[in-house]
Symmetry: C2
């Protein structure tokens, strides 16, 4: 038996969704069916959303749950007539904050200074571009400009982490894959990385998980064999320990968790205001 959950916003819906998912993940019992309805910023769209909510209610014979971040007052009021169980993030906290700050809310949708200001926009785009240009050991000549250089065996999560660090925090992140060619020269730090030691950060991963990921890309190859994955992971971790390079195990983590843990452990300062 499923229970419908609606994430409703007159903006992107990202906050409602991310908060709602965290909260619902605390309950192991029911199975939820997610619906994200962003940009509900007119009466017409709100009425259409209401119909969808009512349909779910009738089909499932249980109140749907709404997580909402809605500033538009008309939309907000309409949602409160839905008969759903509502978690209303803005109305719960805005009035208290208004008193505390002795200032009136603007009630303007889509205001989020950090991501829309022109400076931040540039920095984010530059940082993503930096991650792409300096992905996979493609070149080293910009390592001087990097805030951090991620190391790891092929497919241990370096690329998406670098991109996320750029997008979310404006961090310039390069990455260097430690390959078999490197390891053939001995279990030691590749020469090209030596001048940048203080900026290195390692990723490691459970070899079985790594084999699974590699198998999706090159099935039944030497590259994706259990033995090869075990060898590479083992060698890479040995280098980290030898050289006292901080590292984390990405096996159980999402990209967001890997990136925020690196920010934390490497004491990186975010570059977006």
């Amino acid at each position: 038996m499923e229970r419908s959950v609606f994430f409703i916003s007159d903006g992107t819906g990202i906050t409602a969704e991310s908060f709602g998912q965290s909260l619902l993940a605390q309950f192991s019992g029911p199975t939820f069916c997610h619906h994200t309805l962003p940009y509900i910023d007119t009466r017409e769209k709100a009425v259409k959303a209401l119909m969808q909510i009512t349909e779910a209610h009738q089909a499932e014979k249980v109140q749907p749950i709404i997580f909402m971040t809605v500033l538009n007052e008309e939309v907000s009021q309409l949602m409160h007539t839905s008969g759903a169980y509502i978690i209303d993030l803005f109305s719960t906290f805005l009035p208290g904050l208004e008193i505390e700050l002795e200032s009136h809310p603007l009630y303007t949708v889509g205001k989020k200074r950090s991501t829309t200001s022109s400076d931040s926009y540039h920095r984010r785009i530059e940082a993503v571009q930096f991650a792409l240009d300096n992905d996979d050991g493609a070149r080293f000549r910009h390592y001087e400009k990097a805030d951090i250089i991620l190391l790891g065996a092929s497919r241990s999560g370096k690329t998406p982490t670098c991109i996320y660090l750029g997008l979310q925090f404006g961090i310039f992140a390069a990455n260097y894959p430690i390959t078999e060619d490197d390891l053939d020269k001995g279990t030691k730090l590749p020469d090209v990385l030596k001048p940048h030691k203080e900026r290195l950060f390692g990723l490691t991963i459970n070899p079985v998980r790594l084999a699974g990921i590699r198998n999706e890309r090159r099935p039944n190859s030497r590259y994706s064999s259990a033995r090869q994955c075990q060898y590479e992971v083992h060698a890479v971790e040995q280098i980290y320990r030898q050289e006292q390079i901080s590292y984390i195990d990405t096996t159980e983590f999402s990209v967001e968790e890997i990136a925020t843990r690196i920010m934390d452990q490497a004491n990186l300062v975010r570059r977006l205001k």
Copy 2:
């Protein structure tokens, strides 16, 4: 006069931060000084955080504000002794939800089904890889597999949007830059895109803004001149209208907004559970 705001979490802190920023952006008056403290999951870390909060309080002579998503009960209680103005996202809503769902919360940190399950992890990584492999018109042979193909003049925001669509929604997004070479052949859809018309989506941008962005990359070039940017944007928009391709103006939007609006307008179904 600044007022400190702390985003405190025993997880990544992303939810506390994103919600707190949305809420604070509604107040134009005060200037806030942001501190994100993620992974506060032990008594020791909580005590250290408390010291930082107390210092800010004393220096600024005004209560700091805390947005918190903390499941660890000891940490949560300690934060409530801080003397700050607290917006406690979990304790505000968990008890009500517990009654509504007739189920006990797990109180386990870092549970967020959508981003950590192995299937979703694979899909996200594959989608980011797809965006990278099919970036900037690099190749067309995978266009069949694309959920969407973004068009636009160079530097109108295609790459970060494609990556974000992959990371956030598991969408396979390719992109094709409409270049001067294309436009020299006439103001029409490049041949290579014709078989994929139903999957095309256009980006456009204010030419002045575009010139600013291009100038950061190649200062004082023909490529970044006002005249060239105006010409390209104008021609690209004409193609969209001629071919009835949906498009959006990215000038005032963050990457998140561009991506979520495309999801909405193109009726894309997210690929992450």
